[in-house]
Symmetry: none
Subunit: 520 residues, 2 copies
């Protein structure tokens, strides 16, 4: 089968999506997830733009990714300097990434109007930039910006730019529909021209969704011979987004008989989609093809009836191929496979009766706003509770949180926790930068005497999400906390109308999980 290289730009183009902004920790978590999916290339970010981006490349190197190569993004050299002292190119080298992706102009309008140099100069700029990075031993991906607009305006020149990059040694020529304005038949025609002209070099495709055709456009180029496709998880990206790898990959594998990722990896797509939504702090899009909650949800009675007779009557593929599941909206019987998978992950024997019990509980909790994608520890505790193997390490008598602000600007935050460990009662007070921080301080203070191991637990990430935004500040909030000790990282979740209580629940789970693990 023909292998298609999958190039993910969630961490660069994806972050251009309105309302999306990834912390360094977020970017590393997503990189780990993409590597788990077997993605061939992970575009880490625009090296020159800010220190956070640079920091990412240094930290991701320490993760020791198994499948993915990391690409540093930048542009061709400025018109007014040489490659040796060009900031963008040298910051790419500074990332120590083995792959460099540089964007070059192919639309004559952009060259003269935006770069403000001659068409000839731009050819030199592209060639020199590619050659410079090749000489440093990097694999070079050349992103031909606005290629389809450029080709329409001046086909001869657009092709000249590709030729310049190819002769300079570019490993891939990626045709970018930067403004997303093209339709599949144009993409197909133009890509065919390019593939015929540059048989020896890998041709790639980068599309945006401004005509609602990002996925179809990517497929059209691949049908014309492209062998490298760029996109993002969930199609996150500037304006209307990029091609969604969650759609492109299954289409290539199940509809076009090509090999984007291995079948086992494709089964992880739904989980990856939800994980990225969670990290981006965005509500998942239910109707997302293949990976959305509704993608295999059947509402019409007629459909459900026919489905009972044969799945293919109203399903174009088996949902399990992408790790998703069939749901009958009339009779809410979803998710057992998920639960069994989760149990497997939590290394719990796959008992179907137990699974059904857990499923029922998980569905109740999900209706209350819980979500276990990023809260493995809370799920583990949930299972222990249902199996009745959970012994609480302490009993809460009360907690109290107090925040006061005076016009002097002083903020006083105080939390008291009163709890019972065995027969002993502990009542302590903690301070902090905020109510949750103070509550956390008090909780640890009250327990460390009994459980010294808690000293090594560190809260690493803290996320709050409104579950049903409709009621404004009265909405339920979901708090997800990531904790770590020397050996591992675990996530816990709490839900309440009260952000303090939701945080408390997640804090307690974090502590209990650590202690249960010690107890074994």
């Amino acid at each position: 089968m023909t292998k298609i290289a999958i190039y993910d730009t969630t961490l660069r183009d994806g972050m251009q999506a309105e309302g999306v902004s990834f912390s360094l920790a977020d970017k590393l978590a997503i990189a780990r997830c993409l590597d788990g999916l077997g993605i061939d290339y992970i575009e880490g970010g625009y090296a020159a733009s800010n220190p956070k981006e640079m920091q990412f490349f240094h930290e991701v190197a320490r993760l020791g990714l198994e499948c993915s190569r990391v690409a540093a993004f930048g542009s061709t050299r400025r018109a007014d300097c040489t490659v040796d002292d060009d900031v963008s190119l040298n910051s790419i080298l500074a990332t120590k990434a083995s792959v460099a992706t540089i964007v070059g102009k192919t639309w004559d309008l952009h060259v003269t109007l935006v770069l403000g140099c001659s068409l000839e100069e731009n050819l030199t700029i592209c060639a020199e930039s590619v050659r410079y990075l090749k000489q440093k031993g990097l694999e070079v991906v050349f992103d031909a910006e606005h290629f389809f607009d450029g080709y329409r305006a001046n086909p001869e020149y657009a092709m000249k730019v590709l030729a310049a990059a190819a002769e300079a040694g570019a490993d891939a020529l990626v045709l970018c529909d930067t403004n997303g304005g093209s339709l599949p038949h144009t993409i197909h025609e133009v890509s065919q021209q390019v593939c015929e002209a540059f048989g020896s070099v890998v041709v790639g495709i980068h599309t945006h969704n401004d005509t609602d055709c990002a996925t179809a456009n990517a497929l059209a180029a691949i049908q014309a011979g492209a062998r490298h496709v760029q996109g993002t998880i969930n199609g996150l990206g500037e304006r209307c987004g990029n091609a969604s790898l969650c759609s492109v990959v299954p289409n290539l594998a199940f509809k076009m008989g090509l090999e984007p990722l291995s079948p086992e990896k494709i089964k992880l797509l739904t989980e990856a989609s939800r994980f990225v939504f969670e990290i981006a702090n965005l509500p998942p899009v239910m109707s997302l093809p293949y990976v959305g909650d509704s993608a295999f949800a059947h509402k019409a009675g007629l459909h459900v009836d026919a489905l009972r007779k044969s799945k293919q009557t109203y399903e174009h593929i088996d949902p399990q191929l992408v790790g998703n599941e069939r749901r009958f909206l009339i009779s809410e019987l979803s998710g057992k496979s998920n639960i069994l998978a989760e149990m497997e992950k939590a290394k719990i024997a796959q008992d179907k009766v137990l699974a059904r019990k857990i499923l029922a509980r998980v569905q109740d909790l999900e209706n209350e706003g819980y979500q276990f994608e990023a809260a493995n520890a809370s799920f583990d505790l949930l299972v222990r509770k249902i199996m009745e193997t959970f012994k609480p390490s302490f009993e809460l008598i009360k907690y109290h949180v107090n925040v006061e602000k005076r016009n002097s600007g002083d903020l006083v935050t105080e939390a008291t926790v009163k709890l019972k460990v065995g027969d002993e009662i502990e009542h302590v007070v903690g301070e902090g930068d905020g109510p949750v921080n103070a509550l956390d301080a008090a909780l640890r203070k009250s327990l460390e005497r009994f459980y010294p191991a808690l000293k090594e637990v560190q809260l690493f990430d803290y996320k709050v999400r409104v579950v049903n935004a409709k009621e404004g500040t009265a909405a339920r909030v979901r708090v997800v906390i990531e904790s770590r000790d020397r050996q591992s990282i675990w996530g816990t979740v709490g839900v309440s109308e009260n952000v303090i209580e939701a945080s408390w629940l997640a804090l307690v789970d974090s502590v209990e999980y650590k202690l249960q693990r010690l107890a074994g």
Copy 2:
């Protein structure tokens, strides 16, 4: 120009979307909106399914629609009765609609497995059903269910079904990709076969988005000669949805040189999209092509800079063509150009010195974790403060928030606010489901006596995001609040290490923005 008939099924297929259910009043409001758009056909619903559906047809007739014809939906007659006593066909007649759309089986698997009759019988069923409705003087649209799957399984039979419907007098043969599993190249090939075989009859296309190609599939059929396209507003529909008319229509008009709706009507698309989201009680999808809030929102500074030189550099069409607008997002990736553009929109004289001042301040605030993308009101207040035109409506003396939990499970949340308006001092207490809710209650209570207009302000959305996740619960949090009154929606932001304080800041901005606008 070639006219393409636009057939909307928001009221039937659209209502199959998970979580969507329209009341009779909703359906009538949407019908009026579609008529205003100049839609050719409005599919009103499945006449036989329930009385509400039937009621719709009687009431919509009284609306006196100007442009649209209403179509009643049903299926071919049952195998075990005659057309004269078939419930589905007769309920279509009972609607008094001038157009009947009936769905017939074209996939042999469905005929034998689901209908449970012979392939020959089904041909008779389709022919008789069409002829019956034609004899009653209706325009008949024949929806060929699963046509593309049927054609793949048994092309000869699939074509026979179309022939039967055509010979019986069907006015349009609509090829339905019912399971949504097809890709554009297949749709194009098969549609071409059909158009060649049935030159005299109008061929239509009905697509679903299960491969993320609903729009591209619809366009592919039209390129092959189809002249009737079915879809829904915002692509609402079962599972992954239907083709979105908000994407299909502009693509046909601006990319393919066809005539779906008049240019004046196309300018109403963005408004229609938001209206339908509102009626469906769904949060608008920001990234929707053409009509989404983000469709022409520019975040990258480089892009904005180029756009100021020429719009076409990073825009595939003029947003006004679809009634949408260009937006420049203020973010860590933006430069002076975004600020200038914002000032332009806020009708503030474009003073470069002022712009530089503002940019410097915005960048400082962003380093503290602020983000103005979703907080236009806070940005507006920021500008007023820098221009020294801002007069605070009140002065905080102190606030106090109190959360207590007892092991009984009871949660007590209370907030007090003490502030000064003019020379008067107000000290009030509020309760709420959570600390922010209580604080909001107290703040309004304390101000409404002085500013009654605040009564109409409603908090609509509340988001919390940790900015620098690394320090766990001591991290800074960013709170973004969306407020609305009868006229408009505005966003405000607050950042602090303390979620209560961050929320307070956003609440205060929300109130101040409303009051500043009143003051003008």
